[in-house]
């Protein structure tokens, strides 16, 4: 049942021009960045050959590419998630889901999986670029896989926030703007953390920052701490979304 809903969501995304233009724009920008960093690698290559234990092409190219991708996703994911619930509420299609033999959790998880499938597809397309280096020489598959996983986790967390914001409002644009606000705040929250004297507060703010967890994974250090952070983050927002949508039916 979850899959039926996810499939519908994915289909609706592909039926809208928005998803296609997002795909095109993101791909164009990242392709440009990929070529630029690759070019930089070639100019650096003579110097790198002299070094002991020099960083490989994967490290030099993939790190910046996925870092930029993460930042671009932060701006793009709110646009993809904004319509999830708010649009249904606006078009009054929610009664269809409420009257169907489907639980509220299934509805929300289905919608979420639909949009995450789209985002995973985007990540896959982005990953094709570093894979193309294979034509010229070997790459570090382990690092690439981990960075791609980190990006998927990060983007899935963005989508969870977007979904929740979409359940709060009837206006998709309001959902998009508030999602972007929350994501940006969580992205930069450790800047303030660095200035606070109290080490406990610094620790908390740093822990909350999505950037820290993403960077740690993207460096190639797999740690359950960071993976747990993302999974917890996603679960919290999904549960909040279910509660919120359930609230539509209840006493106000």
């Amino acid at each position: 049942m979850v899959l039926v809903l996810a499939q519908r969501e994915l289909r609706s995304l592909f039926l809208s021009p928005l998803a296609w233009s997002v795909l095109a724009v993101v791909q164009l920008i990242l392709a440009y960045l990929f070529l630029a960093t690759l070019n930089e690698y070639f100019t650096l290559q003579p110097q790198l050959q002299v070094l002991d234990n020099a960083p490989g092409v994967t490290e030099i190219v993939v790190g910046p590419l996925y870092g930029s991708a993460a930042f671009i996703f932060m701006m793009v994911v709110p646009l993809l998630t904004m319509r999830l619930v708010s649009d249904e509420r606006r078009n009054r299609t929610l009664p269809l889901l409420f009257a169907a033999p489907v639980s509220m959790s299934e509805t929300i998880v289905g919608k979420y999986l639909g949009v995450v499938a789209f985002l995973a597809l985007m990540t896959l397309i982005i990953t094709l670029m570093p894979l193309s280096i294979l034509i010229a020489g070997p790459i570090d598959f382990g690092l690439l896989a981990l960075v791609a996983l980190a990006l998927v986790l990060l983007v899935a967390s963005f989508a969870a926030v977007g979904l929740f914001m979409s359940t709060l409002t009837v206006q998709p644009t309001v959902a998009a703007v508030s999602t972007f606000g929350v994501l940006l705040l969580l992205w930069i929250i450790d800047w303030a953390g660095a200035r606070v004297e109290d080490p406990a507060a610094t620790g908390l703010l740093t822990y909350l920052s999505m950037l820290r967890h993403f960077e740690a994974l993207a460096k190639g250090l797999f740690s359950t701490t960071h993976v747990t952070y993302f999974i917890l983050f996603i679960s919290v927002f999904i549960v909040l979304s279910i509660r919120r949508l359930d609230g539509d039916r209840l006493q106000r």
Binding site: M1, V4, L15, N91, F98, A99, P101, V102, S103, R249
Partner: protein, 317 residues
């Protein structure tokens, strides 16, 4: 004849803040019955329907569908319901077929039966020609039909239609009414409407809801009887005194109209026509006109909802 009860509602209440939209209503619906829900705007018809379909949680009361409590086992109960809300819940970017396939799968129809179910629903609602068209490009009447197709795609025991004939042309309205009657043979149907003759044509039973309260609930046959004469208009060339007429059995009031005509109101179960004619002949009143007056459903509706206002005003004063 024993009929099994498909829908049973007890003490159903719903508040919106300080406003009580639905106030302690109770009713039952048997298999194969078409129930018409009537009421002025804002009376609580849609709210009741939303509660029946799980779109709103009741503030108090119980709803059971086919013996399944809607709150205790929502999935099983909802599988027995097909619902068309006031505004059909359509995904405008889908084609009719895509949309109906999605609805079929949403209602847990097995994969190998989806095509068949879509085919059947399309046929019943006259949508064969538009299967490949985008819902967004369809006219309002066709969208309404897609909405009905969506509600009956899984052959639910109970079909709940909120104003199903709004925005349709007269031919479509006739088709939809015929469809509702047909649905009524194997499913139970609850429909709300503003169009009073529609109730007479399609429903077995009528409930009138006013300001959240159920003020009338009876079969259409009884309603029709109620619509039949409860007054006579008579004309005499040699009119008798009002008292002579008032003395006739069953007469409750006599009102003088223009000329030599009079309106005689009588109780529903005692028709004084025979006695009147007999007296007229014996006493030489010279009867020239005798017309039973019919009440329209509209009058009954206004009477019922208006008396309700008056009694409430009386209680308040």
């Amino acid at each position: 004849m024993t009929q099994d009860t498909l829908v049973s509602v007890e003490h159903l209440t719903r508040h919106y803040g300080p406003l009580t939209a639905v106030d302690n209503i109770a009713f039952e619906l048997a298999r194969g019955e078409v129930l018409g829900f009537l009421g002025p705007n804002g009376a609580g018809k849609s709210t009741t329907m939303q509660m029946l379909t799980g779109n709103l949680a009741p503030s108090a009361g119980r709803i059971s569908i086919c013996g399944l409590d809607l709150l205790d086992s929502p999935k099983a109960a909802k599988a027995q319901i097909g619902y068309l809300p006031e505004q059909p819940p359509l995904y405008l970017e889908f084609t009719v077929d895509e949309y109906l396939r999605f609805c079929a799968r949403l209602n847990r129809i097995a994969n190998d039966q989806v095509t068949q179910a879509v085919e059947r629903a399309r046929e019943r609602c006259g949508l064969q020609q538009v299967g490949n068209r985008l819902i967004g490009n369809l006219s309002k009447g066709f969208r309404q039909r897609v909405g009905i197709a969506q509600a009956i795609i899984h052959s639910p025991s109970v079909v709940i239609l909120d104003e199903p004939t709004v925005g349709l042309d007269p031919i479509q309205i006739r088709e939809i009414r015929a469809l509702i009657r047909e649905l009524g043979t194997e499913h139970s149907v609850i429909l709300s409407t503003h169009i009073l003759p529609e109730v007479q044509m399609t429903c077995d039973r009528v409930q009138i809801i006013n300001r959240g309260k159920l003020v009338f609930s009876d079969s259409v046959q009884h309603l029709s009887q109620r619509m039949e004469s409860s007054s006579l208009v008579v004309g005499f060339r040699n009119p008798p005194s009002g008292d002579a007429l008032g003395a006739l059995p069953g007469v409750t009031a006599v009102e003088a109209l223009s000329g030599q005509r009079l309106r005689i109101s009588h109780s529903v179960d005692q028709d004084p026509t025979d006695a009147l004619v007999e007296h007229a002949v014996n006493s030489g009143w010279q009867l020239t006109e005798l017309t039973p007056e019919y009440k329209t459903l509209e009058q009954i509706f206004v009477d019922i909802t208006a008396t309700e206002y008056e009694t409430e005003a009386g209680e308040a004063a």
